[in-house]
Symmetry: D4
Subunit: 249 residues, 8 copies
């Protein structure tokens, strides 16, 4: 794309239909225009097989409507994250095939027929961690992954987790979602060879400090092969794990 | 002791050898003198079978020498905690049978032949947690407990811990010592029925925050039956667990 | 149970009705199935005399209903913690003998006739700490303890506490519940020989930091024999103290 | 002083020996010159009976020498705080009657014969808190107070404190110095009517956080009549309490 | 009171109407009963001229009603702190002469004719700090102080404060109330000789951290003679300052 | 003004119509009256070309009405910050030409025809940061600056920012507004020579900690030429940047 | 291994040379022995192609010597992390082919001829971040990755990073190492499609808070595809990134 | 420079001495080479009149020597910050005219004859803040500013600051350096119209928290026109203030 534009500028310069000074000005500005062009960005996504993701909180209805309209004829999958049902109604006006994933608070638009890649497992410590886990799982699904869910299998009842040891050990990437003390990531990290993406949640009370306790637990894990996302950032974890799975053999 | 004093005062009042006003003044002051009297305190310890413990940091050599001298003919076990070797030399001048427990940084004086109670297990996540664990174990030993040590059995290598599952499940109290992310306490708490005394250590780096990370982990554990001590407080954990073990059937 | 399963597998192997390879596969998986089996867990609880506890926050009505249904014919005591009245109504549909303990926010189901063990005392510093204390007391009661309550006896009015010195000194375990600055645990810890389970509460304002101030106070107590629970964790404290009391002579 | 200057300016203006414009310029600047005059400050101290206090840390030897020289013929008491022995040697060169208070890390110069006021009591929880307590006590002594010291009487051994209940209740101001969990201030605050100045110390380890734990304890005390100083700020506490005592009946 | 009880016990012992063993038991318990008796406490307050203060948050309506009833015929001033208007209505049922101080959130009952003591000044940095300041001022008024209020005189507009320099310098105690960055306490501390009681407020946003910023500012003040209360603790500051003023010459 | 007052006092003193003692008293008080007088302050603002700014939160309706009334005939621009629409209605009663800037939560009154100064650019990382940015931009506009807005140009999509590189490099001051991780300030700081005023916002979740994360990012920036405002303090940033721009060549 | 043991037990049971009860006892214990066996672990590592890593801090010389001896004839690569030169000398006694990587503080032993996988790039913001980056790079090299290093390319000098855009965009995993404000991870995350493993370092001062500032920055990044390691955890990042690269197409 | 390169490429393309494909490749890379070229950067600095600044901590001797050598023939002023004397000796080998500014820990090389701009004032609260202030002042001097220093004029002794009111009010930018509670910035911010750059220092103890207390104070200042630097970041403040002064009228 930008190479073509460069060839065309070069051609016009050679032909003499472009002034040297104008050429220099255009060239100076170009790499930025190039990067700043939304179409180009779409192409990059297409090239990589990943979807457009719109973060909804703090967006005005009007902003959301504008975005929905501009994306309405997208050829690619789209996600709107942390959307409430009212925002879904706004989006649906312009994108009638949008679907609302309630627990994951995601609005999804499926426009691609991505080949399904398996190997992504999402685990939670408790049942209260499920919304964050669903955000991860649904995100990964829109990015072309088949997701296995193992929910409510926290470290304090080890046997619930060990019962799924084989699934865990066969995964290409695992998203481990836990609030409270967040020990789940350490236990899984000790059991498997694949990358573990740990997501602390704000589930808990008292010295949980809104998720800081499991965040610190996960950062300090003595198990190798564990990296950490921001508190409650299921979307980031699903995105990160899906990237790994999609580029895996 | 103080009852005797009370009986004696009552007798003298009855006999008329003590003025009522003087009697009232003595009685008013008595409960405080009573509590403030060091001998009484020694009796209370004897009665409960627990030892005198002297905290060494910040004590001047002179203070330490005074204390050692006053305790030199104790009939009971004594511990000096967080003592360095130089302080041991000072104590030994007046208490020649004092022993220095290097890793535990404890000076111990064994004067009692306490009947050994078993059921106390001390576990560590890593080998760097051993000094804190030894402080717990040696403290409990001076309080009359037989201690089983399971060291370097952290949550990231679960099998090392599970290999000792039977020992853990047969314990009357477990001291779980862990730095890094401190997940050990959650895993043990999920495996056993007896009380688990969790001790976070300052072992780790970065977001470990000098032990705050495992402290928060342990406080937020979703396993029931876990209570927490201050960071690196092996002595407190040994003392607390020994109390439980000694009063257990 | 699992021993029986092992015996049966062994019998079938001996009889030749089980292939060696199949036997090996079954055995390999067994310890996890074993641990993961809910029935086994119930047996473990029966064996130890402790109840099932369901944590209610974040549970959907549907999840709660499923759990209530599965527990409706339990032979053992059950607790649902941090339940609101609406959740109680849901549980009561399937468990008509469920009782709502308002201040403790506990739903209790009494199905066992546990022999009462005494020696457990619950103390609060102020009257605002009572809900957390009640959570501890009721939990311990469902676990077969007779509980003595001493409420509103904080460190700033020492005499209110000292008036109960004998009760405190006769206890086998004490739960000390305090918000504000949490000095109660230190004062009790200095008076008694039995284990003290300290629970900081979020009662207070300003630099109380949602309970962090009394939490730090309790962790740093210079009194020995004090271990600490998470902020507002009355249930954990009641459970921990009841474990001690039940295994005490 | 400045009134005289004003009268003189007014006189010169009236006489015509001062230009109106010059007069206006002088008047505009005057209140600042007034406040900025060091002599005035000395007068204020003399008037209030309080001493000059020089904070030593971070001062170069040269700066210290300059200050010592300028104060060498002071008619009033002087204190140099947080001074080490080497700094004392420098000060002594110019102020031969300077005295080094070792534990308090104070250099004192006694030049006044202040009438002694009693009613100031300094209490510590442990023996490691003594240096901070001494800084408070010696400061108050140089400000004309007779100080009663009650050391090593922490909340975990209540009887040690209660033995001094009468002294405490007869005080006009109490400085309560405590590290670890700092419960001392609450206990004293509940016993006495006079103002209690609480000083947290950095004595402790782990979750003591360099004195933040006792600082929070003291700020959150449920006892009324307690105000708090910065961690280890014995000088500030001695100064504050001495102010109260000196202005008391 | 308790002396009388002691005399009576002694008399009965002498007469032989009290068994020695019973006498000993009574005496042992007495100092605690003595302290625990609410009437005694009332006498202590009467003796010191300070009022009963009931902290309202977290009190149930029933508890509040019980307290109000028991205090309804008090001979002394009473305060109910942090009370809302609904709680006032409950209190007024049993104490018809109760008054609601809206901004201070205090319910006051004036039963004493305390001689007014002057010298107490309450200063605020901004107009949003006024509720906390009023809590301090009204508290001090019920304790018999005449209070001067200087509101909205923060450090960023120094002249507003300096205009009151003479009032400040004539005070016996100053309560300095400030949110935002809390520099007010340092500036006043540098201007006056009397004790300054600093109260940080939670007024502010962002890195104010709910009042932690001015709290730290005030604790670290380089001005001597400043002590600090908990965030928003106007009542504590008024109480503390009133104690100083009432015992001043 | 105050110079005139001084001249007039001097004249009257010279004439003899003012007593010397009265003169001295007036002069002593004057610098404070001078500074404390609102009219004088207005003059100072006029002299510097900056507007009156009224901070609305915590102001009672009555206070706001009083202020609006007193400012209603101001010759200068006025701003009311963090005002809600209801407060705007109150202000408008007395100042009918007041305008409500919705996103900026500012009430503006334009009374001056300030010469427009250009060179001030306001940049945001995301669209949720716009309200804070608008507060900065509108503030600067009322202070006589022409403001260029570049919104939604965060560091994670560098090209969006680089597209405006020339505008940024031609600015005299840049306000960089960012929540989340706040990397925007570092990137801009690396691109331009003019002062960059960084404003962290509370936009984000989890470990964003209400804006502390971007605040720390901005304080630690390795780019030189960046100074930081409090979280969400758009007004302060606009004011600071406008000061720079107005005094620039 | 354990399968063989199971087959042998089954054979003996079938033959009747093993009692059923003994068989059951052995089987019950087996899965734990199985997991606890170090040789098995070695096999797991062999199977996955990853090396043994020994964490050196806190290890006694004796412990280190024991480990070195037991690993001396390993067929696989070995790493000793955070080792100092003295520890290297100890290790070299038993493992003469050990190499000391000075900047990375790693002792490496190369025993395998792993096929080199490329696609791993390590970037640092500054030159002080290099030791942490080297720890990541050398770790990955021992795990069979070819590593490209781009050092000193922080966000404040964007052009230094953009010069390597093509290398970055061709990577399969990027380790981004940054202290100060840590904006590097956001900028790289915005430029590339592959997973970015962000490592905050403790490089910086003041409000850097020992690496907490860049840690928070990285956790809050608005760029997708970034996961975070503990502060200074180069080894963890290298290990995590190498896992991704080795399993990538 | 880069424009010339562009013109030259265009010329060669037109002439046909450059292939179109080669031209496109060169152009694509150019904006990065352009920015990445160190010479260009030097030109940018020359254009803006600001010096090269080398941050010394963490630099190896070799790295420092390489940098010194490459800068030895610079035509512009150079600063090496936070350098110790040993590092100065290394630098001096290659840059004999380098000067060591002891208190500021700066190595300076003066190669330019910048026209002096006045209007920059540096103020400190205490004498311990002087090293940070000197770093600011010397930095600004090397950037062509004449600096007025007002040291030891903290908020607790207001008159010392007010004595310099005229100097402050005549400044174009003020650097306010303060540790302890950092109130200085608020007081100055209330007095002047020019931008105030506040620098918190780590001077203090206890709840100063290594400079966090004055940092928070300064961020929360209620005075407008104050922006804040990182703790102890004198260099950043000097640089920022010098930028303002140099672009001022």
């Amino acid at each position: 794309m930008d190479e073509q534009e460069l060839y065309s500028l070069a051609a016009r310069l050679r032909e003499g239909t472009l002034e040297t000074s104008e050429f220099v000005a255009r060239i100076k500005a170009l790499p930025f225009q190039d990067l700043g062009d939304v179409k180009i960005d779409t192409h990059r996504r297409l090239r990589k097989g990943f979807s457009e993701i719109v973060y909804c909180p703090g967006k005005s209805d009007e902003q959301l409507r504008t975005i929905a309209r501009s994306l309405s004829d997208s050829a690619f999958n789209i996600l709107f994250s942390r959307a409430d049902r009212r925002q879904f109604e706004i989006v649906r006006e312009d994108i009638p095939d949008a679907i609302y994933h309630d627990r994951a608070r995601l609005i999804g638009v499926r426009r691609e027929d991505l080949p399904l890649r398996d190997g992504l497992t999402v685990v939670t410590a408790g049942s209260s961690d499920v919304p964050v886990a669903e955000e991860a799982a649904v995100t990964a699904e829109y990015m072309g992954c088949a997701v296995i869910r193992i929910y409510d299998a926290g470290a304090a009842g080890l046997h619930r987790l060990l019962a799924h040891a084989e699934t865990l050990q066969a995964s290409k990437a695992i998203v481990a979602v836990a609030g409270m003390e967040g020990a789940l990531a350490s236990v899984i990290g000790g059991l498997v060879a694949c990358p573990v993406v740990a997501v602390p949640t704000s589930v808990g009370y008292g010295a949980n400090l809104g998720g800081l306790a499991p965040l610190l637990t996960m950062l300090n894990t003595c198990a190798s092969g564990v990296a950490v996302m921001n508190i409650d950032n299921g979307l980031g974890a699903g995105y990160f794990a899906a990237r790994i799975v999609r580029q895996s053999r």
